[in-house]
Amino acid sequence: MRSRFLLFPGLCVLVAGCWGEISEPSPMQAAGGGAANMGGGDSAPLDCSGIPGVTPLRRLSTQQYQNTVRDLLTTSGLSSLTATVQPLLDAAPADSTLVFTGLDNRVSGQHLSTWFDVAIAVGDRVSTDQASRTAIAGACATATSLSATCVDGFLNGFGRRAMRRPLTAQEATRLRALNDGVRPPPEALRAMVVTLLLSPSFLNHVEVDGAATPEGPLQLTAFELASRLSYTFWQTLPDDALLDAAASGALLTEAGYQAQLTRLFDDPRTRRTLWLFWREWLKLDAFSGFATGRPGFRSLTQGLRFGEPGHDHYADMVQEVKALTEYVTFDRPASFETLLSTDVSLTRSTDLAAVYGVPVFSGTGEPPRFTDGSRKGLLQRAALLVNNIEQTNPFHRGALLRRTILCDPLPQPDPNNLPPGSLDPPVSSATDTTRQRYEKKIAGNNLCVGCHETFTPMGYVQESYDAIGRFRTTEKIYDEQTGALLADLPLSTSAVARVSFDDERLVSGPAELNQRIIESGRAAACLAKNFTRFTARREATSNVDRCAEAELATRLRGASTLAEVFRSIAEAPSFRLKVVGAP
């Protein structure tokens, strides 16, 4: 009976799309420069003069919109409404996770439907509930007619929070006009609420009011800067303290800016934002679950309670990554190198601890450690190693490192250009390890070898972990249909991993691979690139952008703590600028 792989995408990755011979520099190396340097020799320094790339008009991401509505209601005394509004917020279209969700700028009828429903729901509550009217406009809202003072109070409170700035004279005039004497006060307030919640300045990051600098970009106004800070670190609107700092001008002083930046960064909402970043960068939500019904998988995980009710191993694995990133960023502030090399185990899950063979972390005091050297740092945590069937996929693992962690382009082949059979999975065998089967598949196939050599060896090194991320020294081969153990084969995990493309040294195992990744500085460069992209919600398009990434990468490679680096994103001069694209 044959036992074959089921999961086998991207078997043969295109040569032409890579960079030919392995000894050649990648296109990014050839382009040179800073954070993007692949570590393959000298490269010309970037010219950092010029202006940042264009900042496009962006709507609030779906998550930002949901946070903004909830926080606006809460800070406006309408907390009781959040339960009513939540199902409507949940119906907002999810942003695409193919890159970062914040880069998804589509608008659709589904968006408008959600925005409208939410606006109406809030407006209706205001119109029908006297307490809500009092909350957002004061006791004057209960009078038989709304005074101009009362309306202005509402506009300066709820209106300012919603628009993240004082209303312009034109906006105020238009909203005041809704209090036309025909509409009774509840209806007038409802109309103003609905209008504000559908306003372009509520639903988008509108930055058009700054003064033009001599070089061309707009210097953000204090309120625009407050919003940028708030959405960068909190994914929601500025609180009143930040708006007040903008109103007083304090935010435009260096001391005032730093004070607000510190306050924002220390807020729990920044933790949530940084976790969003890690989750999206590492695509931790993309795993489709373990195939716990497979006989082979059941054999692999015997005694570990995979698939049993109340036992979600993958959730535990993701939680461990969250705990680890927060531990190094906030709880025991340390460098990126520490994140990549620490041997602490922070899992509080009995199930995951059993997979790892470590004690459960109590949550206080010193956490347990992987004392046997089996696992170090972020990249060797189970969430980044798992496959959903009983066998590993070294191509996937290698591609994850090459593409996601090192930011190297790794295009898939166009199957139309491949000869028959190129994408067929390797023939299964009870006498070959997974690595051997994969090696045989591409051996001698010149169309595949050149590109596979750039990422597959890293996957082979990680064969020290099985499909659930458990450390192993031999590979157990199970029958796909019966789950019977067919063989227990010795592993080979040494390979020329080429973390940097000119590094021809043999890597003996995952610990050494990890060290090479750290030494190369290339994961730091990749993190810098992605964090910049995540926070700016756009791609780097100018040398100034790339220089900012390079600066961040330099700090990540140095002694700076992760917290310092993440915070520094708001300290770059370009953070306070807006560049308008071609008219």
Partner: protein
């Protein structure tokens, strides 16, 4: 009956309204009147399709297999040889589907659940994607430049086009007045749909449409449409008018780029639609079904979750069509049930085909097509789609409209696949249900492959022999929905969708097609 959207939405906000299915709540005569026009429902499956399992392999009653005609060649693929000419002077052939009816259906994949509807189906072979595609989102609806980010292709270089469902949904011929919902898009697990839209703005940016993954959201899209408030003019219409002016003012700000203004144009288009709905006197033409409970996007592959959600989705689709709330629907079947790896275990597994073809077991099975066990599972997945999704939809819609026809007759259900066999864009399978209100002749198996032509390439199920441009299916659907060439043709090019074969090696693939007829309906398919 008039519904207040807010009342409805408030009602569905609570979990207490969770119901197992809507089907029992949709009266068999739910609609008060026959539909106002044809409906298009698109079903998309993924990765390789097992061609030999998809098409009949029937012998007897005068039929023989291709093996008899083409022994020892790749053309001897074990499927039934058709001999009746479809159109004189062409190599195209056909046969009545009833001829292949057996207790197990008409093929390995098209099982017995379809038997009651054979007279209303068209099974089509030989539709070729001319552009060189890979895993993609919208090729089956005319956007060939939509290969997934992880699997780029030559066709990516082509300009994005709206998919035909969106061309139809924004056509004033199809919807003379603003409908409750222009189109409904459904999926499980993946929020990017197969559809691309410019919101009806000819020069507007084309963006991918997002799919609903929660039946409650789908229900709200359909039945939470903007109904007028009881009594008097709509007070919200005036507010939206003011908001429209706000967006217009912002658009005139000189500190916005052309791209920014394009985004604002999309807002304005959407607001215009909202204004139209708020200003209309739409009423439901049927009894509104009860709302389903919320089932959030399922990230796993629990079989019960998958099956339950598809049942609810199909109920929403049927109710939407029968109530006239929308007449355009797409469904990306990223998740389906099928057998597991143990052939002796009858339990159905959940299978997932991820958006970028990098996750889930389904795509892996597709790559393992040479393995009989993988083929068994793949066949099972597609059989499940045939019986539970396609036939399930047919059954829900085969309900009298009151004019002697059924909603199925008025519809066109199009089951297409992401690709043909493996990653081959040739001979992409197609099953059509309904006649689109009599536009199509039904009940036949149409084969557009020139079997006497050159077999360029073959791999397992994947015979590459020149067929007919898939573009002609697009034209067929567009015209079946009531559009004329002037409504969809661009830049003087006949038909719809690219006919570029750039990047294809002419030694490996057919590239020379008769493009003179690319703007015409598929030969022999019209009633």
């Amino acid at each position: 009956m008039k519904l207040d959207r807010r009342q409805l939405l408030r009602g569905v906000g609570g979990a207490a309204l969770a119901l197992p299915t809507l089907a029992s709540l949709i009266p068999r005569t739910a609609a008060a009147a026959p539909p106002s026009g044809p409906a298009l429902i698109v079903i998309k499956s993924f990765s390789t399709q097992l061609i030999r399992e998809w098409y009949p392999a029937f012998q007897g009653n005068g039929y023989q297999l291709k093996n008899a005609r083409y022994p020892g060649t790749s053309k001897a693929d074990g499927t039934t040889l058709l001999t009746q000419p479809l159109v004189s002077g062409s190599p195209y052939t056909f046969a009545p589907l009833q001829d292949f009816r057996t207790a197990t259906g008409i093929s390995g994949i098209l099982g017995p659940a379809l038997n009651p509807f054979l007279s209303k189906l068209n099974l089509i072979r030989g539709l070729d994607f001319l552009p060189s595609v890979n895993h993609n989102y919208g090729a089956l609806l005319g956007n060939f430049s939509s290969c997934t980010p992880a699997t780029p292709c030559d066709a990516d270089r082509l300009a994005d086009l709206p998919t035909i469902d969106q061309v139809i949904a924004y056509s004033s011929k199809f919807y003379p007045t603003t409908p409750a919902l222009r189109s409904l898009h459904l999926s499980q697990g993946v929020t990017n749909s197969m559809s691309y839209s410019n919101l009806g703005q000819v020069a507007g940016a084309v963006q991918q449409v997002q799919a609903r993954t929660n039946p409650r959201d789908a229900f709200n899209d359909v039945f939470g449409s903007f109904m007028p408030m009881p009594g008097g003019p709509n007070r919200d219409r005036l507010l939206v008018d003011g908001v429209f002016e706000d967006y217009t003012r912002l658009k005139n700000n000189p500190r916005l780029s052309a791209a920014d203004k394009q985004l604002l144009d999309q807002y304005l288009t959407l607001l215009t639609e909202l204004q139209a709905r708020l200003g209309s006197n739409q009423t439901l033409s049927c009894t509104a079904p009860a709302a389903p409970g919320s089932l959030a996007n399922n990230v796993g592959t629990n079989p019960t979750d998958i099956a339950t959600k598809w049942r609810l989705f199909l109920d929403v689709v049927a109710a939407a069509i029968m109530c006239g709330q929308t007449r355009v629907v797409t469904m990306g079947i990223h998740k389906a049930l099928g057998p597991g790896p143990d052939a002796n275990n009858p339990a159905l597994f959940g299978h997932y085909h991820s958006e970028d073809a990098s996750g889930g077991t389904w795509h892996g099975l597709a790559h393992d097509f040479g393995n009989p066990n993988a083929r068994r599972m793949l066949r099972g997945i597609n059989s499940w789609i045939a019986s539970e999704i396609f036939a399930g939809l047919c059954a829900r819609l085969d309900v009298p409209t009151g004019d002697g026809t059924t909603f199925l007759d008025h519809s066109l259900i199009y089951w297409g696949n992401e690709l043909g066999f493996n990653h081959i864009g040739y001979s992409v399978p197609c099953l059509l249900g309904g006649s689109a209100g009599g536009f199509l002749r039904t009940g036949r198996y149409l084969d557009y492959i020139d079997w006497n032509g050159r077999a360029y390439f073959s791999q397992e199920d994947g015979n590459v022999i020149k067929g007919i441009p898939h573009n002609q299916l697009l034209v067929t659907i567009l015209q079946a929905m009531g559009l004329a060439p002037a409504d969809y043709e661009r830049n003087g090019q006949p038909g719809y969708g690219s006919v570029s074969t750039s990047g294809r090696d002419p030694n490996l693939w057919p590239v020379n097609y008769e493009l003179g007829s690319v703007g015409q309906v598929l030969p022999g398919i019209r009633a």
